[in-house]
Each structure stands twice: as C-alpha cells, then as structure tokens.
Symmetry: D2
C-alpha cells in the first residue's frame, strides 16, 4: 500500500523503515532534505495515487496544524490524513470537521513504543470512522507488533490520542511506583543488592513489566544511577490526563502525584516549602535553613 | 534434594508439586491430613536426613512463630529453616538470632507469583547467609522461573521479606495507576471501546506488563466488570511499605495513595467527608445529604 | 456613594444590606421582583448618576456574560462594571478588553465570607487598574471587615478572581486536613471525647482557625455528625486551582488530593477499584465482593 | 497550688512563669543550674508537700523515661506525675501501669502553643483518670488560654498525647495547603501582590487562621521569603499520625502527602526520580541531566 509520511525524525524515520520492510511504498517528507524523499508537500502529494493516505508525524501543536492545513489545500476528495503525533485529543474533532467539507477524511492515532517500536512494533490506538480505519488497516498492521495485540480502534475522532494520553498517564504512575519502591529498597538497612532484587522481579513476580526490564537494563549500565540526576521532564499527556480526571470528576491520586513529583524534581527550591519553613519558625521558633 | 515443606495450602501445595516435578524429594506436612505426607512435625523431621532443610509456608504471625519454635526443638545443629510465608521483615533477624545458639540456620524468602507460580515459576527474594543460600540453591532453582531472572539473594536476614514487601507496595501502585487510567477511559465521551484499548497496550506499548495482561483477561471475562464491587482488601505488605517509607523519610506519594484508596473502597461512609460536608454547610449554607 | 447591584440572592441581598447600613445608596436589581428596587437593567442604569458603578453578583458563566453584555449596551464612557461573582479568572481579561473601546472600566472581585459576611464583613480581592480600584474604595471599605485586613488589590484584570480561586483551593486542603484528623481521632481506641478535643484546639493551639470554630459548632449541633452523609460537592474554584497548578508546574499534592476525595465521596462505586479488585482476583485468586 | 516542674527550656521556662503569674507555687528543676530552683530531683520532691504533682517537660524518649523512672523512686503513694512533653502515645499506657503498683498516678498532656503559649495560653489535651485530672485542674486552668476553649480531657492514658499528635498532623496538612496555594499565587501572571492577598484573607475569609496570621507576619518580615530555604524538618508526631492512619485503615491522603513533601524538601537528589529519569531515557531516548 502507498503512504505519504511527513516527519522523518526519530519516530517517523523508524516507521518509514518498518513500513518499507513490510513491503509498503512509503514516500517520506522532512524539512531535512537529507532524509526526505521529496522536496515539498506538493511533490509528496503528486507522487501518491488517489485516494491518498498521508500520515503526519511532526511535533504536536502549531507545526501539526500548519502541516495539516497546507495538506488540506493540496489533497482531493477521498484522501485521508492521519495524525500520528502527540496532538491533544481536543484538536482532533475540530480538525476532522474542518476537513470534512473538502471530502478529506481524518484519523488520529496514538503511537506508543518509543525507540523500541522499530523492532518490537508500535502500539496503535486509532480514532475515527470505521471504514476509514479499515482502509488504512494494512499500514496499521505493518506498524503494530505481530500477534493479536498492539492495535485498537478506540472510538470517535480524538479517541486515538485520548487513549494514548491515558497510556502516558498510567506510564507516569507505574514509573513513580517503581521509583518509590526502588528508593525505599536503597534506604533499607537489610537489602544489600538492590539491582539483584529488581532482576528477581523480571520473571515470576506480579510486578513484571517492560518498564521493569528497562529499569534492570539501566541498572546494568549504571548500578547506582550515579550518572543521572533526579530531574524529570514531562510532556503534555501526563498533564492532560490529570486535567481530564478533574473535568470528569475521576479521582486520580496516583496519576496526579506522579506528575507533581516531576515538577518537584525540577525545582531548585520550593516556594511552598519556604512558606512552611517560615510558619514553623514563626510559631515554634524552629531553626530554619537560610 | 530433600526438603520438608510445612503448609500445603494454595501456595505450598503447588510448590510441592513443582518441586517434585523437578525431581526433588519433598516431604510435606499440613494440619489437613488429606494433604499431609506425615502425621506431625516430629515425623517430618524424622523422615529427613541431616542436614535437614525445612520450608515453612504457613500464615504469617503467630502460626509461623509457633511452627518455627516447635521445629527448633526438633531439629539439630546444621539444619536449615526457611520461612517462605509473608512474615514481616522485622521478625526475621530476631528469629535467626534465636535459632543461632542451637546451630540452626535460617533463611527468609519472599515468594511472588500467586496462583500462577506453579506454571510460571515463583519469583524468590532471599535473606540470609551466603553459604546457606548456596546450599539451598537447588530448591530455589526448581521453584523459580526458567532463565536468568526470578531469583535474588537480596541481603541479610529479613532482606527477602523486605524485598517482597516492596514488591507488593509497587504492585499496589501499579494496580492503582491502571485503575485510575481505566476509570478515566470509561468516563471519556470519545473512547467507545475501553477493553480494546487495554488490549492494544499488551504489546508494543510502554505500559505493557503481566498485570495489564490480567486486566485484559478480566475484561474478556466481564467486559464492564459488572460482577465486581470496587471493594479492595489489603494485606500487611502494602501498609508496612508505607510505614517503612515514613521511618526512612522516603517520599512515597503513590504507594501511600494506593493503600488509602483501598481503605476508602471499604468504607460505607467517610467520617472525614462528613466533617467536610459539615464545614461547607456551616460557612456557606451549602446543601448537604442526610 | 451610589452603587448599582445586580443579583440579590443570598450573597447579593446581604451585601445590599451591609452597604446600606454603611450609608451607601444602593439600587438593586434582581429577576425576583420582590427583592428588586427596579424593573430592569435600563431602569437601574437610569437611576444612577454618571460615572456609574455597577456590581454584578450573579451566577458565574453565561448569566454573568449576558448581564455584562447587556449592561455594556446601556452604560456610558467612564462607567465601571464590577464582577463580584465566582467567574473564572480567564474571563476577566477578555471582558475588560471588550469593554475598553466603549470607555467602560472593569474590575473583578473575589468575595469570601459566605453567609457570615453580612455580620463579619467580606474578604475582598480585586483585580484591575489602580485608579478604578481607588474610585470604588468606599464600597470595598463598607463590605470588608473592620480593621486593616480583608481587602487586597491583588493585581491585573483577573487577579481578584484568581486570588479567590486559590483561597478556595486552600480551603479545600484545610477542610480535608481537619477531616482526616477528625476521622483518625474517631477511630482511636484511646480518645473518648472527640468533640472536646476539637474544642480544646479553638484557643492556644497551632491549628486554631475559623473553620475549626465551625467544626466545633457543627459538633455542638450534632456530636457524631450522624445527620450528615460524607458526600461533598465541589465548585469550579477547587478544580481550576489544580488545573492552574498543572499549567504552572507547581506541585500541589494536598490541593489535588482534597478535590479527589470529594469526587470519591460522590461515587456509589469506583470503576478504578473494580479494576484493582479484578486484578487481585486474577493473580492471587483473592476473594472479591460481587 | 504547688507544682514541681522538670525541664525549664523554651517551653518549660515559659510555663513556670505563666503558672507563677497565676499565683501557683512552682518549684522548677533543670540540669542547667542557672534556671533551676533546686539542685536535683530529690530536693525537688522534698520541697513539695504530699500529695505532690510533678510535671515533666523534657525531650520525649529516653530522657523522659529516665526522668519518670527516677521520680518513681522518690515519690510516694498518691503523688501525681504529668508528662507534658511530646511522648508517643504508646508510651503512656505502659508507663501508667508501671507507676500504678506504687500508688503513683499519671497523666499525659499534649501541649500546643509554641513560643506564643506564654502570652496566649497553651492548648492542653489530657489523658488519664477523671479524678486525677480534676485534682490538677487549677494548673491546667492557669496554663490554658482564658475563656471556654483550650482544654480537653480527651480520654484514657495516652489520649492526651494522641490528640496532640493528631493536632500536629492536621497542622502539617494546613501548612502544606497554605504553602501550595502561596506557590501558585507566586507563579501566576496576574497576581502582582501576593503578600497583600495573604493579608486580605486574615479577616472575613474562610481560610483565616492563626497560621495565616503568622504567614502574613513572616511575609511582613521578608516579603519574598528570600532569606529562607524550602527545607523543612519534621517531628515524630506527623509520622506517627500517618502510621496511625495506616494502622486504623483511615484514608489520609493530605496528611501523608504533607509529610512526604517535607522529606522531599530535605533531599539533595531523589533516587526515585533518578529511576524515573533512567526509565524515560531507556524507552524514549529522552535527554537526561547528568
């Protein structure tokens, strides 16, 4: 099957390779001419036979909007745009509505798998109309892992990015759970070999997971994580997940705490804790650090 | 290798079978005569050649203490007692000290795997002296999963139960993370097929894990979990983990929240929230439920 | 000073009385003719001498927007609109911008105090331009408590509602802290007289506060809160506070947890905890409630 | 009334003064001879007429135990020992039991008020037998604030320290709520004058409290808290409160989070967040800080 793919960075570049390895005809575009198969979007569209399927894999936000708007001017009735980037789910419905009058179909796809997706396949969550999803299924089948798992038609426009957002929220929670457990193990007076304990959990335990495998891998490379700082960025999905929990009145203690600890990890000093220190000093004459 | 095994319930019974399948000579004792190979502990000890290795797999607390105390009176210098139950780690050091003057060695083993361990192998975390661990390694090798993972000599007496305790604390956190994400998905207006989304994560995603596989399995059996109540017990390990976090001054937002939500799940009404409702009524004249 | 006041409900009605008691000339409008001094907004505007000051005290959202839009068509250059309702802070800047071309000034005021404000005075937080605030100061002085506290010019348009929002977020956290402590006291085997303990904290303690006074008052009326359900609504401000914490990358463990417990208090059953129960049953064969 | 008072530090010294100002005859002992009225405990006991009342105000733990044990050897049947220090509530019952065979009575008193207690009075929570409490009431009346509040007979032996412990747990939660709200205010683009906002809440608001008064006082002294580090110690009570919540299966999200943020405030780097950073690097190739 023929596919236009826009954005050939770490994710898009690997996806192009995986799709080609599966026998698909991928025409890629990137602003970096060294990676690009065509000079511009117009040439990309020209090279594809109608009905065209074009997958955008560019940074979420304005760049994705601009790319899709430009594409919309170049494409014809019956063509399909798939956004596989990390767009916010609220962008998808309005985008589909904007494309509809031109007869252009739209799918949103949440893509998980990171740098391992090329080898292992990418977990794909798709939002949009059933028949459009069906039309693109060969592409999804090539990107997803072999076997029965790793793909879902999650629901309406936005459902793909929504499912991916929740995936990331859960990811934050799981990572924080491992992190906290790891720190208590490290602090224990009894446990001498924390990396061995992590390794013991990789098979036969209830907490075995791919993330745990990766934690073991990280400890193999650096047994005390001495080369890392406890400084953790966050991407939009974790924040949006908590925003959604609040909008929908869903209790999300763990997911929220997991993002707050990331905020804390990036603070040189905490204004909140300054205020607490000030209060202790005021009422109890407790010593403070200056 | 010869092993005495005390306690042939769900866990112990399966372990006896798995050990025998691996060619070990297991003499089992249980208060249920139908399951037991011997009539009492004295007969168990008599049937084993010195140096004996006896594994207790009985409920943590007084029953385990009583069993080990009785065993201590029957065993000889050089024999080994292994406690594979869910004892609190603080029991192990004193226990080893009590056995030492009699020349009886002691190991504590945290055993994970639940009802799946018979087939998949049990993840084992061991605390105690290196040479005693080495002596018992054939037993551990038969119980653990095949391959390089699923076993660790974690550290000193107590380290095995400690590692298992942390394992359970992390387990609580992971389950809560999945639970919260699942609930937001259910509440979403966009996602039509929540079980399909869970399924999509089983391969290729960052959140893939054995627990996720089990969640998918549960949803296959009951797609809306309509047959379950959101009522969740907790065992000691989750509580002890938070106690340890507090003792060691380790921040554990996620692990603590995960146990508090279990407490909440079991409350018919919340005195704390009654107080909050009372306050709202007092200052704002807000309506309350009676 | 002359003031138009729109919305004569529980809050607005009390405010009219407090302002009149301070000697101000208040013309009130309400859709309930029994409370209203005038028949409609046009008559209200007519009764006031330019430059007019009109305070809206109507439900946040569309009703406030509609009211201000209608007012904008009736007022003249130099007039002032004050929104004292619970509008979201993000409404204020755009509103001020819309009014500016007409020469109409705008202030947003966060008003705290609930049903006690009539007697004790209302804490007021104001956003907008300095000279407009100064012009309205006599009104603020009449509404605020006597003494040096209870009023702030917090900052730009929106700062008044913002400060009030944070006030409410803190309020949620304080109430939850009292609620949790109260519940532990109730559960204790040692403390026989929980209401007496609450009473003991009202003077001389570090936790003394007006909310504590109200908790004591509630316990005087109903010593076990037997007539209340632990069911707690939330208003927008608590949610917006957490949204803001997330937007600004401020850790807010306590404020977020305080709103999540309210969500929990309103759930008949928890989908998240159903998922956790399902997982426990899957891996451990643990009993579940059906 | 006559009272022996042991420990004349910041708290005890002020209490002696407040008691004397109320007309009581206080004989104080301190290891610091400059402060002490007597040379040793024996002389203290000698100076008091039976039945003696002796109040210990020394550091919790071994020093308190030693002091009470020494006193027990010097006192006679019918004498009363009051521990007003920060002992853990679990010490009180056994202590009372040890003293009982000698006919010595025991009360535990939780004392709140910090350095302000001398002027404002101390909030007192008492555990023990009714008639002993009644006998000592004149002392309590002199120490407590004027008026109807600030004193409770909370319950059995230990109930006084228990109530004080919960008081401190709540105190942590309230301080954290203020701290988080303060930090969001600081981060806001709209609020220009955070100290003014705090000041506005001191009267008329729902969040007014003594702690808020102190926050305002701290901001008067140092408007940006520039001279403080966000580094906050914790005393035993906060930890014990969460331990109790866990023991009694009481959800305590806010109280637990408030102590965890203190732990975080004291960490130069977080092992948990190192593990999270390691995981992000492993699965996504995300940049990390070294």
């Amino acid at each position: 099957m023929q596919l236009g793919l826009i954005g050939l960075g770490r994710m898009g570049g690997n996806m192009r390779e995986r799709l080609r390895a599966a026998g698909h005809d991928v025409v890629g575009f990137d602003h970096n001419a060294d990676k690009s198969d065509v000079a511009n979007l117009a040439e990309l569209v020209e090279k594809l036979a109608a009905p065209r399927v074009i997958w955008t894999m560019v940074p979420a936000g304005q760049i994705t909007e601009d790319t899709i708007n430009e594409l919309a001017g170049l494409l014809s009735e019956g063509d399909i745009i798939i956004d596989g980037g990390n767009s916010k789910f609220t962008d998808d419905g309005p985008r589909a509505e904007r494309l509809k009058p031109k007869g252009i179909h739209y799918l949103d796809v949440g893509v998980s798998g990171g740098i391992w997706g090329f080898t292992n396949g990418y977990a794909l969550m798709v939002g949009g109309d059933e028949e459009i999803v069906a039309h693109c299924q060969p592409i999804f089948d090539a990107l997803k892992p072999a076997g029965q798992f790793g793909f879902a038609h999650a629901g309406k426009h936005g459902a793909g990015h929504y499912a991916k957002m929740i995936h990331n929220g859960i990811e934050y929670g799981m990572m924080q759970a491992y992190g906290e457990g790891y720190e208590i193990l490290l602090a224990s007076e009894l446990v001498d070999n924390v990396p061995a304990v992590i390794k013991s959990w990789r098979e036969g335990s209830v907490v075995k997971s791919w993330l745990l495998d990766l934690l073991d891998r990280a400890l193999d490379e650096d047994p005390t994580l001495a080369n890392l700082k406890g400084y953790v960025e966050d991407t939009g999905e974790g924040r949006w997940t908590v925003d959604e929990a609040i909008r929908l009145a869903v209790p999300a203690h763990v997911l929220a705490a997991s993002i707050f600890t990331r905020f804390e990890s990036r603070q040189a000093d905490s204004p909140a804790m300054k205020a607490v220190a000030a209060l202790r000093q005021q009422f109890g004459g407790h010593a403070v650090k200056r």
